[in-house]
């Protein structure tokens, strides 16, 4: 039910339903059919793009829960990913641990790290917290590079394809299904968190901590919970990333990765699940889009040296433009369009009359 439409939900069933209008049900069904049918029609390359987008979406959703919902700014997202990936790398390398061991272990490491970073958040706010998480990022990266240097994996640790229940995950198609399912589950989790007591508590804390506390919300507990929930999912994403790429190296988790994830939720729209998904797709596909454009303009020949800085620059420029001109992100554009349609032919909602 669109915002401002004047229609209200009248039963608890309607209020609990995940998808509430016929249009949304149709959209969702179409999306499921599309994702299921895609492997039959799409090229391996575009399948690979969707797979990457799905993985990015998991990370973006996790960051969105922490920053968008609970309002805790984190510049350490790449650190959490790195921790998850290296947990897998180290366990596989040293004891040949199976995925059923490494994945829970990665989640556990994520939870521990989340608690560690979350504790300062009880005292720190805003920028100060962001700086704390950034410091954590550098410390995790240092630990990982120390591991690499100490054990002689200077370029990185390789991770063989995992086997679960006798199935060896190695083909692009398999990974497509696994990661799309992973992203779908995370989306469901994120949607349900948003509309549950926990999500409401987070939003209350985000908007005004003192007011939230005076409403009886245990601020400290929910803040920690936000960090733990986000970092567990992120570390899992890192672990799956390690298997998917079959290679782990510190270089892959630079500060820039954090920026990319933040850009996803900024461009998509802070605090919105749909926004995180849109942003993840946008940021993941942007470099390939630029490749396609450049390829179409100058066919053939090796990629010019300025292609990489160009992609990098386009990303920075887009992020700045969104922050300056559309701070609510893609979702903001969509919502405005929706309000415009609902209100048409009026321009503004009329003045509230004297009751």
């Amino acid at each position: 039910m669109a915002h401002g439409s004047g229609y209200f939900k009248t039963t608890y069933e309607a209020d609990m339903a995940l998808v509430d209008t016929r249009l949304r049900r149709l959209t969702l069904a179409a999306l499921v059919v599309l994702l299921a049918a895609l492997p039959r029609v799409a090229s391996p390359f575009s399948l690979e793009l969707v797979t990457q987008t799905a993985l990015a979406a998991v990370g973006a959703l996790a960051l969105n829960v922490l920053t968008g919902l609970a309002g805790q700014i984190s510049l350490g997202h790449a650190g959490f990913l790195c921790a998850g990936a290296f947990t897998v790398g180290i366990l596989v390398e040293s004891v040949k641990a199976p995925p059923l061991v490494t994945l829970p272990a990665a989640a556990l490491v994520g939870a521990l790290l989340g608690t560690l970073v979350g504790v300062p958040s009880l005292r720190l706010k805003g920028l100060y917290l962001a700086l704390g998480t950034l410091a954590m990022h550098f410390v995790v990266l240092y630990a990982a590079s120390e591991y690499q240097a100490r054990w002689g994996f200077n370029t990185g640790v390789s991770v063989p394809a995992p086997t679960i229940a006798g199935i060896r995950f190695r083909s692009g198609l398999q990974w497509y299904y696994v990661l799309v399912a992973f992203a779908a589950l995370t989306t469901l989790l994120s949607v349900n968190l948003t509309r549950s007591r926990v999500g409401r508590a987070w939003m209350a804390i985000r908007d005004r901590e003192i007011a939230a506390a005076s409403l009886g919300i245990a601020v400290a507990r929910y803040k920690l919970l936000a960090f733990v929930a986000s970092s567990v999912v992120t570390a899992l994403a890192g672990a799956v990333w390690a298997y998917y790429r079959s290679f782990v190296s510190v270089e892959a988790f630079s500060f820039f990765v954090t920026i990319e994830f933040i850009a996803m939720i900024v461009i998509g729209g802070m605090g919105s699940t749909l926004g995180a998904l849109l942003g993840a797709s946008f940021v993941t596909l942007l470099p390939y889009g630029i490749d396609a454009v450049v390829g179409a303009l100058a066919p053939g020949g090796a990629a010019p040296y300025w292609l990489f800085p160009l992609k990098f620059g386009a990303f920075g420029l887009l992020m700045a433009l969104f922050l300056l001109f559309e701070p609510l992100g893609l979702v903001g554009i969509w919502r405005r369009a929706r309000t415009w349609i609902v209100l048409w032919p009026l321009r503004y909602a009329p003045l509230r009359s004297a009751r």
Binding site: L124, K125, A135, Y142, I259, P309, L310, M319, A320, L323
Partner: protein, 290 residues
Amino acid sequence: MQAVAGVVVLASLYVLLGVGYVLVYRASRVLNLAQGDLMMVGGYALFAAVTTVSASPLIAVPLALAVGAAAGVVVYALLMRPMAGHPVFAAVLVTVSLGILLRVAVVLVYTDQARYPLPAMDLGNPPVRLPGGAAVSTLDALTVISAAALLAGLLAFLRLSRLGIRMRAAAERPLLAAQRGIDFHALFALSWALASFAGALAGVLYASNVRLDPSLGILGLKAFAVALVGGLDSLGGLVAGALIVATVEVLTIRHVNPLLSDVSPFLCLLAMLLVRPWGLWGTREELERV
């Protein structure tokens, strides 16, 4: 003795960079994550001036510094002013984008090879003997001197001059300042110009002393740890913060592990956040404000 000299030199570099963080933070509560990249731009401006305008440092250095200060004004007018009224974090992200764009611009023009402006100016960098047996390079000594001069000048300006008082007033409450007829946009632009000037000064000195390449911006990230340890809104705290962080860094290089030394500013930062999150001389209320 050599170690002490090393600490002082490194601390001076951090002070030059940190001044930028503090000024911008006081003006707009924004942590300028592009400060390191502005420093790099200062270095490249020197290199550009030397190669295209004149090889004489008397012309090239002021030119580079002027470019640095102008860059600050442009950044404020183009990026920061429109961000007024948006959440602070969004403005911080804009500075991240700015850093990316600056780096890209430099790579597109100068590629990512290291450059050396000093030989291009036909100057040497002879060591200076200090009492006590230590020796530093001429540019090291210059770094220390300019950091001290800049800091003293800024402190006097903010305490004593009418413009400085207005700048502090505008930093505390921009809206009220406007209600009192103070054009706070002009003052904030001045803050950015001063910050970016300090960054360019650091860039000119570092580029001449060591080298110039697009990854110079990383130094800026370390310097923000310095600014926070001293207290983000305190110029005086900066000196203490810089000395602490530089000492820890030099000691880890000498006695522990060079890999760890790169992380040591962040360890100092974490320790400070746990004990006294507002920094040595910072205002406690700042924590509530952001």
